[in-house]
Amino acid sequence: MWLSSEERAILGGEAGPAAAVAMRVLVALGEAAGAQRMVAIESAHIDSCLYHGRAGLDFAERLVAGGGRVRVPTTLNVASLDTRQPELVRLEGREREEAARLMDAYVALGGEPAWTCAPYQLPGRPGFGAQVAWGESNAIAFANSVLGARTERYGDFSDICAALAGRVPLAGLHTAEARRARMIFELPDLPAEAYEQAELYALVGHLVGQRSGSAVPAIVGLPVGSEDQLKALGAAAASSGAVALFHVVGVTPEAPTLADAAGGGRPPTTRLSMADLRTGWDELSTAANGARLDAVSLGTPHMSLIELERLVPRLLSLSIADGVTVYVSTARQLAEELERRGLLEAFRRPGVQLVVDTCTYITPILHPRAATVMTNSAKWAWYAPGNLGVDVCFGSLDDCLASAEQGRVIRERPGWLVG
């Protein structure tokens, strides 16, 4: 791999020990990927600030001690604690102390404490064609697919190294060649109502992710009305599979036509049937219809301002059953915006719990005896049973809220999916 004189100097320690460590990691990654050279990045989003054990903390503190400082605008992903409501997360003892130290270390390195998995919902997001280094699988998928920015799958250790060096190996999804669709998915025609909800998009993402692995899929026949729908699709596809870039033909910026998405290639086509959609819908749930409900989890990925505003009147008219908590996760910046607009009251009603800086499936927030949770997030439904040991029901926002009122799981296929 060719390195510029500046890059060689950084590797040799002339920009300090932390930058040298960062460059060493990037060179190893570049050599493994067969990169010819590095490319400058415009921004970074750091996933490493979520605590997974001592090694992550040792690395971050080594970088701080080595004079590390990010070279590009850098946002921080969700962490293990809600710093506005410290009592909400039941991490204890050494783990809690180390999780907090990890957050401090990433702020000391120059990361902006946005603590959100959806940095694309904040001002200053990258433009079309921008080279960036983002971590967090849903953010990676959104940056590549919806914004047309270019990022590989960064994450623990590699994301902060890219931010400290201000560059990454020119490989993978940073190059045009790797961004071509390798698989095509055709969808059946659905009733118009199906396209009004986010759930369809989460379901399509789930099915496409399962069938794509790490390949780039192009989806045909999917009208899209909002970024939130694409957010749901990408988050699901990056959970059931390793999708880092998807195209929706006629919708996303690199896919005005199928030929554009495929870049001259002729990838194989998979037709998703109504039966596939039903199977996907059913397999995202483990909880039985009518089971006693403990919690509803909304906002994975973090809710956008539009989603939050739409939720306000729903919450104000909701009478939540005893023993049920409705968790709503978002970025602290958006929670502050809600407060400015006088809308935060809705999230302080009995049975409602706003969560910022973190998420309900990565850190102990739910009541320890919570056994059954309902969500409208395919990503949450995919990870929570394993992470938290709960039963989960994936459903529409309407069914989530209706279940919260009844205190029981309403597990139903939506009307457009009933066969």
Binding site: R24, A32, G53, R54, A55, D156, S158, Y383
Partner: protein, 145 residues
Amino acid sequence: MSDRAGWSAEGRPLLAGAAEGPLLVLDQPLSMWGGLDPLSGRVIDVHHPQHGEVLAGRMLALPAGRGSSSSSSVLAEALRLGNGPRALLLAAPDGILLVGSLVAEMLYEISCPVLLLTASDYRRLGSGMHARVDLRHRLHVRPLT
């Protein structure tokens, strides 16, 4: 050389080093995050065919990593605790596992070399063999004695 007598092959070093030990070949890709318990060194992904196997102290062959980039942290943590594999033998390059291994080396001077094998060499690997990687990036495999 026949497999019975042992064989050797050259790999591409993603992270150089020497290591040896009993071989464990995973039948499917494994996400270390949610798949490996760093405290015990065991495979804890209940959907994985080798659920319950111990990675600690083994030469670990896996076709590829899978899933979350948090696997880098989990691998580094397992290595820190002495519960990681001795080396990784891969059939496809994997930046996530490579970075986990490299960070453990930089922080703790714990070596876990990462060697990329050709598809045909990879297919010759089987659990119940002994494997050794040398500093010239050669893999030597023989039956366990």
